[in-house]
């Protein structure tokens, strides 16, 4: 049976010491597995980026002046293009998108990596290939004007806020790359 020492001080001391001991255990385990977890994450990220830009071999993160809303830019080692991660506000949450851009400036493929606090049912309608595939092959995007053009992106009705958030993310990504490339030539 458990001890009947019900004096409050001993309860506090025992609970605190148990917490300390198990924290120590967890710390040891964390240190032992941290490296593996980190390399797994890195591998998963690389695989995800490769899916967006299949011509590339490996990616290196680029240190550049980032536009507001852009969180990271990766460059393909063989110069096939870039991967830009950017985010924009939707209806009630922040949507994060990874955009693969070829060296020609055309979008290769985009992927929504996080929908934040957006309603999963509504934002999920945006996260479908019929919507996302519209971006593939476009070089500059517009959401208004002529409907038939290759650069025209049709929003998902009923999920307009989420659609325009994705649209802003991709525009930001294109802007970021244009700026970086422009800076290079100057």
């Amino acid at each position: 049976m458990t001890a009947r020492r019900n004096n409050p001080l001993s309860s506090i001391v025992v609970l605190c010491s148990i917490c300390l001991v198990v924290s120590l255990l967890m710390t040891l385990c964390y240190q032992a597995t941290e490296e593996h977890i980190e390399s797994n994450r890195e591998r998963r990220l690389q695989a995800m980026m490769l899916e967006l830009l299949p011509d590339a071999d490996a990616f290196e993160q680029v240190a550049a002046n980032l536009e507001e809303g852009v969180s990271s830019v990766w460059k393909a080692s063989n110069g096939a293009g870039w991967i830009v991660t950017s985010s924009a506000n939707g209806y009630q949450g922040r949507i994060t998108v990874m955009t693969g851009i070829r060296s020609s400036g055309k979008i290769s493929k985009i992927r929504i990596t996080d929908i934040g606090d957006e309603n999963p049912g509504i934002a999920g309608r945006v996260n479908q290939s019929s919507y996302l595939n519209q971006y593939s092959g476009a070089s500059g995007i517009s959401s208004t004007g002529a409907r038939a053009g290759a650069n025209h992106i049709e929003a998902v009705s009923g999920a307009t806020y989420s659609s325009s958030a994705v649209f802003s993310c991709v525009s930001l990504a294109l802007m970021q790359i244009q700026e970086m490339e422009g800076g290079d030539t100057e």
Partner: protein, 227 residues
């Protein structure tokens, strides 16, 4: 309190007090992760690890833990082992991190683990608690693997991802969803009861043995709370 041999304790955990099929504990992860055998197996093994380690630690500390704060103490111990299991799975079996999803951290509040801590480890020797943890964990793992095999075979025509010829029978997709999990669990529980049943009196005694509140219950040994 009835003394049991270690072999009996182990067999109880696997068969006569199987947490999933007899005591009906830990159903939530069982229904959710067993659409594939492999994730059921990993879930079961992490459960085995957590229940074994927490049983040993709680049994070792049973004279130090004041009864007034025993619940938070058990909680902290179980939570830390669940976290350790999660680190290990994330590091060495990354594919299962996503397939087990939230059910891995939710093991902290799994009543099967908690029931063993409160109902067994807190009043038995370290070795007996370890045997009980092994038995319970192995019983849970076996039940999950069995359930996963039935669901994967019926739902996608494979076992461990290997296609199994099922003849003219087409896979029944509903087995991969929660309702299919509940069907499978219900049928397995019925079979387990049929196989382990020893008549109503024994049945009642067994329910009291597996009940975490049996120590405090005035009806313990008098036919159980249903009388």
């Amino acid at each position: 309190m009835i003394r049991k041999s270690r072999k009996q304790i182990f067999l109880d955990g696997i068969i006569f007090e199987n947490p999933l099929l007899v005591l009906a504990m830990g159903i939530c992860p069982a229904v959710s992760v067993t659409a594939r055998v492999s994730s059921g197996l990993v879930m079961g093994l992490s459960m085995l690890f957590v229940v074994l380690c927490s049983n040993v630690m709680i049994s070792a500390l049973k004279r130090i833990i004041p009864s007034r704060v025993r619940i938070p103490c058990y909680m902290v111990i179980i939570a830390s082992f669940v976290t350790i299991a999660r680190y290990l799975i994330t590091a060495y079996l990354p594919a299962f991190e996503t397939s087990l999803g939230v059910y891995l951290p939710l093991m902290v509040v799994n009543c099967a683990i908690f029931g063993r801590a409160e109902g067994f480890a807190s009043r038995n020797s370290i070795i007996n608690s370890a045997v009980d943890g092994l038995g319970t964990g192995a019983g849970y793992t076996m039940a999950l693997v069995l359930m996963g095999a039935v669901r994967e075979l019926a739902g996608s025509g494979t076992v461990f991802g290997i296609p199994v010829p099922t003849g003219p029978v087409k896979p029944i997709t509903v087995f991969l969803f929660t309702p299919g999990g509940l069907f499978t669990l219900g049928v397995l529980i019925a079979i387990a009861r049929k196989l382990t049943s020893k008549g109503p009196a024994e049945e009642q005694k067994k329910i009291c043995l597996g009940c975490p509140a049996s120590a405090a219950c005035p009806m313990n040994g008098k036919g159980g709370c249903e009388r």
